[in-house]
Each structure stands twice: as C-alpha cells, then as structure tokens.
C-alpha cells in the first residue's frame, strides 16, 4: 500500500477489517508483528545504524510522530484543560513554542474550525461535534504532514455530523496535507477522497477512484458491503 504526498485516501470496509488498525499502526499506537513502513522517506518502526536496520527506539518514534497527527472517534480531548489549552499544550511542550505564539496559532485554528468563541470553554461544555472540531484543531497545531482520521463522525449525533464534515472539506481545500480517513460516511468519502481502499478481513480487497468503487465495484464483496451500508441509511 502506497500513499502519495497530498493524497486524500478513504479507507472503508466492515468493522474488524483492519482499516482502523492501519491508522493506529501509523500513529505507533499498536506494535507491528513484521514488515516495514516508510513515512516521508524514513522507516517508521526501524532506524538505520551502521547501514543496518534496527528496531526503532523511543527517540526515533518521537521524531517520526512529529510528521503524523491523528483525530479519534471519541475525540479524546484532555477534559481537565480548556479548549485553547488543549490546542496549545503539545506545541509548547514538544516544540518549545512560546505561549504567545502557540495561542496565536491556536486561535487561527479555532477560527478555522468555527470555535474561536469557545477558546476558554471546558470540553465538557461542548457538543460532540464541537469537541471533534477542537480535536482537529489540536492535531493541526503540530503541523503534521500526514493526518489520520479514525471514524471521526461515528460517535456523533446525526445532526452534528455535517459540521465536522464541513471542517474536513475546508481543510482539504486549504491544505495539501496527506490525509487518511477511515469512515462509514460513503457520500463524504466519495466527494473527499482521491482514492478509496476497500478493506475486508485484514486485506485491501479493492481499490480505485471513488467513482469506480462506489458506482462500479468489481468485487462481489465490495458490492454487498456497499449494499448493506446503503440499506443502513447511509447515502452514496
């Protein structure tokens, strides 16, 4: 599996098919059993020492994590910190950014996700959609090259899904970040992605342009998956 710089990739498939695992492995939240992953020209789980590949140490992993950001299904905001502190914490701690600079950048990002007026609110005071938009701003604050989105609308009430997807559309239009998106929102995946991967039983079963996958899937299993999704009320 290869992803090009700036590419928007949608990962779809039944639950347990491994699409979320791919994101978690890229974020180094899971250990890999074998194989090699390259991110931005460097090995993710290995490092070179005297021309030999060795398992990566924590320092190498920390360096690689700088390139990657992730937004979670359950937001995972830091509940004891207000919105703007959620966004400024990591840049200040990991990049030595001053508070003034971090807050300026955070306000730009919160403005981008439409929550500049909530900067001092606590996460518990926000709706799910607002929490997820803060989580997106938090991940962007570290300026990663690659963003991972793990079912970011699955835990939201239906009427809140659209506000998060609107932020995603804006993000896709304004930046050239590489984005990997695990989703059950097929309509959104269709419009958003440059390429769609259909996962089943831990393997990539079919891949192609959104139109090919959604309108003319070749594999029978892809067809039946999409049929089930449509029957469940998701539009394509």
């Amino acid at each position: 599996m290869q992803v090009m710089p700036g590419e928007k990739l949608a990962l779809i498939g039944p639950s347990g098919s491994g699409k979320t695992t791919i994101l978690r492995i890229l974020m180094t939240l899971e250990k890999i059993d074998g194989g090699h992953i390259q991110v931005d020209g460097e090995q993710l789980y290995h490092m070179e020492r005297n021309g030999q590949l060795m398992p990566a140490d924590e320092r190498h992993l920390a360096k690689m994590r700088q390139k990657i950001g992730m937004v979670f299904q359950l937001f995972n905001l830091f509940p004891h910190k207000c919105v703007i502190d959620n966004v400024t914490l990591a840049p200040m701690l990991t990049k030595g950014v001053t508070r003034v600079a971090a807050e300026k950048r955070a306000m730009e990002l919160l403005d981008m996700v439409g929550l500049a007026d909530k900067a001092k609110a606590m996460p518990a005071q926000l709706s799910g959609g607002q929490k997820q938009r803060v989580a997106i701003a938090r991940a962007l604050a570290l300026s990663p090259k690659i963003m991972l989105f793990d079912e970011i609308t699955s835990a939201l009430d239906p009427e809140l899904v659209e506000e998060v997807l609107n932020v995603m559309r804006k993000l896709a239009a304004e930046t050239d970040m590489t984005m990997l998106l695990v989703t059950h929102e097929m309509g959104f995946a269709h419009d958003f992605a440059d390429r769609v991967l259909f996962f089943d039983r831990g393997r990539i079963f079919e891949e192609g342009k959104p139109d090919e996958i959604f309108r003319h899937p070749k594999q029978e299993r892809t067809q039946s998956f999409l049929k089930k999704i449509i029957a469940a009320g998701h539009r394509v």
Partner: protein, 219 residues
Amino acid sequence: MDWDWNFVQEIMPTLIQGVKITILATVLGSILAAIVGLAIALARRSPHRLVSRSVGWFAEFIRGTPLLVQLYFIFYVLPDIGILLPPLVAGVIGLGLHYGTYTAEVYRAGIDNVPRGQWEAAKACNLGGRHTWTHIILPQAIPPMIPALANYFIAMFKETPLLSAITVLELMNQAKIVANSSYRYMEPMTLVGAFFLIISLCSVVLLRWLEHRYGKIER
C-alpha cells in the same frame, strides 16, 4: 471517683502541646504517604520487571506487618546499624511508609481509571513519557482519588497514639505522663478521646466537602 475540673484545667496546656504534635505527625505523615504512594504506584508500572517486582514485594511486606512493629524497628533497631532518628522523624517515616503502601493502591486505581484514549491522545500529540504523566494522566487521576486519600489520612490520625511507643510526645503520650504522675486516668483519657473525636468529626466534614468538590470529573 469524681470528675475534677480543676485538674482538667491544670493538664490542658500539656494536652494541647500533645495535640499539636499529633496534628504535626499526621500532616507530615500524610504528605510522606502521598509521595511514597505515588512513587510505589509509578514503580509498579515500570517496564523493568526487577523494579516493579521488588517494589511490589516491598509494599506487600510493609502492608503485611503491623505499624507498631515497624515503628519499633525504625526507632530501636535502626540505631544498631548507625541510623539514629529523633522520635518524631522516626514516627513520621513509619506512618508515611505504612500508609504509603495503602495510598499506592488508591493511586493505582486512580491511574487505571484514566481512559486509554487519553494515553493515545498524548502519544498522538507526541508528548513524551514525563509530559504525559505530569500534564495528562496525573491531573486527571488525582482529583477523583482525593476523598479516598483523605480517608486514609483520617485513619492515620487515629493511629498516631502508636507513636507514644517510640517516645513521641504526642497527645496520648502526654496524657499517659500526666496520668502516671497524678494517678488520675479518667480526665486525661477522656480528654484524649474527646480531642480525637472532635478532630475526626471536623475531618469528616472536610472529607464530605472534598468528595463533593473532587469526587467526579466531567468528561
């Protein structure tokens, strides 16, 4: 035997001296127990098996032996190997170590209660181990466990009379001394009980307030 208010008045200043020492020992012991407990809880999570195992055994050993024995050991046995401690210092160390093994369990539960997603978010924000603990995990783990910690500190307070066994001049010891010299036990011992009751009741009010204030965290 009649209750003698004059005698009460006479011994009150001495007993109040004792109360001060009792409170001092409890406060210092609580601070030490809070630190020891955190250290044990963190060490038991260490990826190094040698560290986590040996600290685990040490905690079991302390918890499995009586505080009185530990106090005797610290005050009367350690001098044999050249460690001579003032009574109050020995007492505070004994209380802090003993209760530290209990507060370690409170910390463990508090840390386990922080959702896994918080660890993952910290990693996704590229926070290192130290920053994850100090900025993400402990600030969320500690407030909900303050009531449970305070409970142990109140229990510790009521065990401070044990310190009289190693000559700390706390409330019980002062009461014993005045009782032994005057052969009157009723007033000193009643007053000891009353002092403990009053302070315990005040602590319970404080505890209820702590529970209300920190008992739950909004997510």
